[in-house]
């Protein structure tokens, strides 16, 4: 039980730091709430879909921006999608980056787009890292026989 308590504390600290530093927002909590007995793997499922989709989107974005003639509408579509999925999982910083990214798309500013692609990528890998850590912690708590504490 000692381990569970420790893990739980670690988990709470970690997730709080994520909130504090703005990696995650309330939407993640909402996600967690949607997870119940009938759907125990919900968060993991959603987050992994998010990872998969996002990596694909990032690849698409990168290749779109390397075209001779950049189709900004297409890029904008990708970014929009990315923004949607990131806001759904509560990856706030990615979302914010996406919002700014879209402005450059509107302006058809290739430099800005490239810069923001890197930023979005960076933010995404950061949050991915964090989320993976978070989920691993959850897993460990569960394995140790504890319950994941709910964050309000």
């Amino acid at each position: 039980m000692e381990i569970v308590g420790q893990l739980q504390k670690q988990y709470v600290d970690f997730i709080n730091s994520l909130f504090r530093e703005g990696y995650l927002d309330d939407q993640y909590v909402q996600l967690q709430k949607l997870q119940d007995d009938s759907n125990p793997e919900f968060v993991v499922e959603v987050v992994s879909i998010f990872f998969e989709d996002s990596e694909k989107l990032l690849n698409d974005l990168a290749s779109s921006l390397q075209q001779q003639v950049v189709d900004f509408k297409k890029v904008d579509g990708y970014v929009h999608q990315f923004k949607g999925s990131s806001s759904s999982v509560g990856a706030q910083r990615v979302k914010n980056a996406c919002v700014a990214f879209r402005n450059f798309c509107d302006e058809k500013n290739l430099d800005g787009c490239s810069r923001f692609l890197n930023l979005v990528k960076q933010e995404f890998y950061l949050v991915k890292n964090k989320l993976e850590t978070l989920l691993r912690l959850e897993q460990q708590i569960l394995q140790a026989g504890g319950t994941v504490p709910l964050i309000e």
Binding site: L31, V46, S85, S88, V89
Partner: protein
Amino acid sequence: MSLFHAIGFGLKVGYQLFMLCCWFLSLISLNLLSNGGVMTTKTGWLGDGGRIWMKLWDLILESGCKFHHHYSQYIGSKKVRKNWWRKLLWAWIVFWILASIWVFWYMNSQAYEKRKEALASMCDERARMLQDQFNVSMNHLQAMSVLISTFHHGKNPSAIDQNTFARYTERTAFERPLTSGVAYAVRVLHSEREQFETEQGWTIKRMDNVEQTPVHEDEYDPADLEPSPVHEEYAPVIFAQDTIAHVISVDVLSGKEDRENVLRARELGKGVLTAPFPLLKTNRLGVILTFAVYKSDLPPYVTPIERIQATAGYLGGVFDIESLVEKLLQQLASKQTILVNVYDTTNISHPISMYGSNTSPDGLHHICALNFGDPFRRHEMHCRFKQKPPWPWVAITTSIFILVIALLMGQIFHATMNRIAKVEDDYHKMMELKKRAEAADVAKSQFLATVSHEIRTPMNGVLGMLQMLMDTDLDETQQDYVRTARDSGKALVSLMNEVLDQAKIESGKLELEAVCFDLRGILDDVLSLFSGKLQEKGVELAVYISDKVPEILVGDPGRFRQIITNLMGNSIKFTEKGHIFVTVHLVEEVAESMVVETESPSSGTLSGLPVADRRRSWEGFRIFNQEGSTTSLSSSLTDQINLIVSVEDTGQGIPFEAQSRVFTPFMQVGPSITRTHGGTGIGLSISKCLVHLMKGEIGFVSSPQIGSTFTFTAVFTTGCSGLNDQKSQQINNQPSPISSEFQGMRALLVDPTPVRAQVSKYHIQRLGIHVEVIHDLNNIEVGNTIIDMVFIEQEVWHKDLGLSTLVANKLNRTNCKVTTPKVFLLSNAIRSTRANFSASGVSTPFVIMKPLRASMLAASLQRAMGVGNRVNYRNGESLSNLLRGRKILVVDDNRVNLRVAAGALKKYGADVVNAERGKEAISLLTPPHHFDACFMDIQMPEMDGFEATKRIRDVELSINNRLQRGELSLEAYKNVSNWHVPILAMTADVIQATNEACQKCGMDGYVSKPFEAEQLYREVSRFLRTESNEDSWEGFSD
């Protein structure tokens, strides 16, 4: 736009000016030309000129029209027009320069013509006169020749001698105005010479060499002349006028000129003229007219030889042209104006000047032919003006005048053009600025949308948590706190909406709902929203709604609430003591009371402090000023409810100078107000707009340091249909404030202030409790009636603690047989209450915090009287009720979003099917299908939500039509004849998802992403309930 108008106006003015100038110019020119026409007596010209000008005028008009045309055509393209203008200007200037030159030339030539004609007429006149006089002289000479032939040759001895001749000629000299002398030479043959010479006593002398050696007059002596040499015949002068007596005895035939003359005269039988030659003795230029005198009358047709034979002598008249013409011209006036030259032009190449000085022949001159009766000789008269022609000042001034006018007009044009160009530049600048301002406006709205969205998300968290907290088992106070917290949170959200509203109002996009709502409930909500604040301040807040106002009204509760909130919020800001009192009446009621005018305004206020006379706040309202409108209002529109709402406060009031701009957006009384009280200053302007949308009016009265009263009217309707009734519940999803558990109870209310008593009574009565009001504790009469509760104003209670105790005891004692009446204190401020209670030794009665409102009152009573806790209706549960077992299609291209949305819906028990594409959704939703609803993302690649919905609706429509026509069997379509699956849009963008956009493509509504339970519930319940209202309704009616 107004700028555009200004340009148009400027142009118009310019054009009018242009027309005026043209008119003026044409008038001047016409005048000038018509004058000229009269002078030159060319009558036809005037018409011509007029016609020309009319044509020109037409041309100008046409060009004006063209100009207009061009203007409208090129209004967009500045440069083209500018060039066009410039060209026009240059053309104008060049045209008028040419025109003025032409005018100058024309007038000058006219003057020249005139001068020429004057000269001609003068010249002609002189020539005619000269000729006439010459003819007269000639005729007389001819007569004299007859005289001589008759009296000299016809008589023998001759009747004429030199003396007779001289005397006669002298006396008849006036008859021959041009002759200076007359002489008669007789024809003498050589054979007769000697006899003749002896007869006369002198020898015939020759004259030819005399001419070559001109001598002085005085020295001239005929005797010095040489005798004539021998010739075949001679023509010695025998008679002569005295003036030329020196020629007697001179042989005329010896002179070269005379000889020719004489020979020609006798041949022709007419007067002939010599070429001008210097006369004998005087040596002046002269001509000699010679007539032949015949011996006998000649028949009309005789040969020249016969004439020669018949010649007896020659009569010569000397014309001293020079002096004679001089004399003649002197007789005529205006000799000084013209110079006259007379020439003998028999030999055209060498005209011989007979008269006149030899001036240079340049300049204007006129030539008149002179006929002196000698066909052999030709004479001409040349006339010219002495002076040079004067400068044509009229022409010069006229043309310069025209030019100046034209240039001035050009200047006007130029100025206008520049002005227009400037205005246009300004206009473009303004357009640019406008564009930028609009862009800024768009940015502002976007910013607002973003901010509101961003604030909504955390607020949803707060509100959701509060909602959940309310679901837990709380005691009444806690529940009230939570509700207040939640309501305040909602108010914050609504504040955000307010900012959005301002933007919407500004763009005229705001529309009002028409749903059923409970006015009292709304006011309770507002009250609870503000109660916390006011309790701290100790300001009393109260609401009174007239009994005549119906329970349920149809209108826009949100907006109504917004107005009330704004007004109250405003009042609260500026009120530190006293009260804020909201009253709702029917307009009819107020109008009646106004007519009766019974109540004095100062009869008492809620807190006893003076207030502004609220009636003055609606003085300006149309509804009261219409003559006899009140009766017609109430009778004609039966289901129309005219509410009049007043918010009265005892705050610091509005300074008079600021009262005029109270309803102007972002205007506050002063910067210090903003600093001390905060706020945006748009609340009142929004309120005003909203009131106008509700067909009402808003007004206020305010006295500084006394308070303000805002009053507005609004038009609602009654008569909720059943469906609307349900709608009203979802908006107002609170427990029905009037609960039946207190129905029929009796209560006693102790309050000395009638107004306050009325308010308290109103609230208590809402719970179904019968209320009796007394003004004093002493008056408590506990009779036979059973009293369940006693409400006592706090101030009454504390005024006299002893009495209070007594009364409490009395109450306890008397009613012990049934139930002790509960004593409640109606209190305003928390602190004072507590303090006083600690001091008092009596059993503490329950304290009910003001402001009174039905729900809170009921809760307090429940707690005090131990009536069982009611099970609160919960959103989550009802959502589950609604969604459990429903088959719902969620369409979103974003897998993450899809998964989350599906998860949320699943949580409420729905059976969720996912689709990632619009096309998939179309195929899934093609009837027959089992879906109860569909949530669709709007922004999707390939096919967006709007498009997909449109297609689904199309498919549904065609199937419905075919089903109706019986082309498809109903069995195959589950006996549903009208397929319409509810489709809700999911969107993260609040602005984009306007209702109309959704409805336009057949969507039933929209929910924001991520899902918000309340909104989700509201939207879903709209269409899912109809199918299962039995069970889902359970939640409300328990």
